[in-house]
Assembly symmetry: C2
Homo-oligomer: 464 residues x 2
């Protein structure tokens, strides 16, 4: 690599084939420099809006030659600085690569460009009888969701992005374009490159096309809500439902603090105790049976006020509370922002983990409602903090570090679905030990110039 | 690396800490040198029977230092020479590392040593209400199934090994021991090393412990059989069953040639036309409903003689035919052996792929019954060949190559579940193109001395 080149040189070269779709306009740069307030960030030097894989390949090849970092950017909804341009460079915004390329309804798959969001995709699938189930809450892009190995409320039934990405088209650091797999539903042909790039947060390649599995819309859906006097009763109910083989589609836990927020925010009268929200997918007969079986199990654990609903309007009312957890949580401390945690533990340890964590929160004078994808053992604290209060921020960060240590000690992970980004780099070695060296070796073998999303997931030596 | 060492030196060093569990006894070497007759092979130089991860680490570290190949060996049931010691060296037989280390019934997972077979595992799980569903037919070891990304008849419902391995303990080429993940059901913490080692056929590391997902035994099981005059009717039935969201647990296709073999071998009177075998898992009500829905869909496609059964004895009778496909197939050509193919295509192309293939088989004067995991688009030909007939072997190999080319042209894969081994290396680049270079880069980054299972999956330059 020669001497560092100026941003002007890079922009000039990009303008040659992209025209005004390579820009250094202040407002655009700032739009791509925003991040969660508690992670350090800066704007990129250039933002580009490619319209094809070949353009992406040209951009990446150029940057790799010139020693400019490349940061892929989807909908900007990630939570750990995953798409932050912390080293400047060229930010690739996929807003103009957001098309559905092919729906294969008999094969239950779809080929899309990475910039499409999950809601845009489902809107375009409406007439096919199929849908894409992964729902992380935010209307994230499919490329971003693939890169962070996202999941959300329906993972307990439909899996995570790792289970629903069939194949990828990826631009490598040197500009070569590869496909990581075919449209076959399964394959044993060589290393699983699809799963290597899924969750790599753009550090190994830039995703330009995603082949996703789709699922048939269930004939019927039923929803249910049930509250419990104690946390262990709620979690034991969840465990038994899974052990019984009930194919629950969603099973969400809101703790007593979150329920208090819900009641205040939405003027509702729920019990302010740990509460489970369920959704069941299947035939008419099956969703009724599932709800009845779940009710019987909840009753064995002293569940109170079990309600279930089938009609769309009634279901929507039941789930309204769960759908507004962010704003309901924030309402508990007006003016605060939420530091959102993401540990995941074996479900047998969940009661202990949550109980210890609640004690820790209270002992440190913090407010932190809990919402959990309980079937997977994954839960989020919304630690409500005033960012101008340095002491409170420090207490929140210390709480988070203890929470992660607790989860790892219980054979869990520091992140169930948000990724490492810059926000959780310090925890990766605690969780993976020497396996992080294998990750580094893979990174340097595939991106030796450290062009792709540098400074994420783990530290590396200086760029060559 | 110094001058090559003698086998005697290696054995001497191994005997120091393993005693007689490192052996060069002729019979033992030959037992580990057997392979499918149509793949070249030779026995290993040494066979070792370690009893702990630390012993495996010592063996691998030693071999890496001395430049001796290491080949992990499970139950010896792989079909593509995956565990053949083609370059000699030390074969690690996991027969003495076959224990269940921990059952976590609330978490629906189990930690096992790699040498345990799937049947041994399920026998030990009998009292837990849980089971491990992956069923490749053979009683393979869990380590071997992980390494070849195995699947089989229940993948349509329960996924493949990639979906059911939660985490691995792996010995790296330099003897370091890593864990690829926690017991959390999902994680976004860094690269997905679990999926990198699953399917790597022992070329990136030696698996010493496997954490598997388990599933609750269904309350009820029902089975069904239905035949069709034409192949497209059977496959369209399968497609519609999946599109309808019926959570079929198994759905197997036997073609008219295989049904002829079944009738002859088992003295049965089935129609000798394409036939589907089903299994449904769920509650009593649900398995009845699933069978009834499947029957209605089959009827829409002129399915004939739909039978279904719930009692274990009756189910067993129905599935008897499917359970004996290998011997029934072989009975069509007494004295022949089977060359077993393994392509997988999108299900929308399956009728075309099978029809073209049947024409190709017949035009070349070969006998090849078909059995297919039709829900996944994966099917096997049993090409019946007399290995002493060089012309017939050549015709079978040419048929296989055309079949793979046809599957890849239809966006499929050369292997759905058997792996590449030595048998399919020539097809890997056809399927993956330049992505094979990424696999090579990963291999050389993790195993730079090419110690681990050399000569498998892809070619590399000379060992350093």
């Amino acid at each position: 690599m020669g001497a560092p080149v100026s941003v002007e040189t890079v922009v000039g070269r990009l303008n040659e084939f992209m025209g005004a779709r390579a820009t250094t306009a202040r407002g655009v740069l700032d739009d791509h420099g925003r991040s969660e307030a508690y992670h350090a960030s800066r704007p990129p030097d250039v933002v580009v809006f490619p319209e094809s894989t070949q353009e992406v390949a040209s951009i990446v090849r150029l940057c790799n030659e010139l020693g400019m970092p490349v940061v892929p950017f989807g909908a900007g909804t990630s939570l750990e600085g995953n798409a932050a341009s912390i080293a400047g460079g060229v930010c690739i915004d996929f807003a103009r690569m957001n098309r559905v390329l092919r729906v294969n309804d008999k094969d239950l798959d779809v080929v899309v460009q990475p910039g499409i969001t999950r809601k845009q995709l489902n809107a375009q699938l409406r007439d096919t009888g199929l849908f894409f189930p992964i729902d992380p809450g935010a209307d994230a892009s499919i490329g971003g969701m693939s890169s962070t190995r996202a999941s959300g409320t329906m993972a307990v039934r439909y899996g995570t992005m790792k289970d629903n990405v069939l194949a990828l088209e990826v631009v490598l650091a040197d500009g070569r374009v590869i496909r990581t797999g075919s449209r076959a539903r399964k394959s044993s042909a060589g290393y699983d490159l699809t799963r290597l790039f899924v969750g790599a947060e753009g550090t190994l390649g830039v995703i330009t096309e995603v082949t996703l599995k789709l699922h048939p819309w269930p004939q019927a859906i039923s929803s249910a809500v049930c509250s419990f006097a104690r946390l262990d009763q709620a979690i034991d109910t969840a465990i038994e439902i899974i052990q019984s083989g009930i194919p629950v589609a969603r099973m969400e836990l809101l703790d007593e603090v979150m329920m208090r927020g819900i009641n205040g925010y939405s003027k509702l009268g729920y019990r302010e105790t740990p509460t489970l929200f369920f959704e069941f997918h299947g035939t008419d007969a099956s969703v009724s049976e599932q709800a009845e079986l779940a009710e019987a199990i909840a009753a064995d654990h002293d569940g109170q006020g079990f309600q279930w609903a089938r009609a769309a309007e009634d279901r929507s009312k039941l789930w309204h509370a769960r759908d507004n957890t962010l704003y309901a949580g924030l309402s508990l401390k007006p003016g605060a922002k939420a530091m959102i945690t993401d540990v995941c533990v074996p479900i047998s340890r969940l009661t202990e983990c949550l109980t210890d964590t609640r004690r820790d929160i209270d002992a440190n004078g913090l407010i932190a409602p809990v919402v959990g994808h309980v079937g997977d053992g994954n839960f989020h604290l919304l630690i409500l903090i005033d960012h101008d209060n340095a002491d409170e921020v420090a207490r929140a960060k210390a709480l988070h570090a203890r929470l992660v240590a607790r989860a790892i000690a219980m054979e869990g992970t520091c992140t169930g679905e948000h990724g490492i980004g810059t926000g959780k780099m310090s925890f990766l070695a605690d969780e993976h030990g020497e396996a992080v060296d294998v990750m580094r070796a893979v990174k340097l073998a595939i991106d030796p110039q450290q062009t792709l999303n540098p400074g994420k997931i783990f530290t590396l030596g200086a760029r060559p």
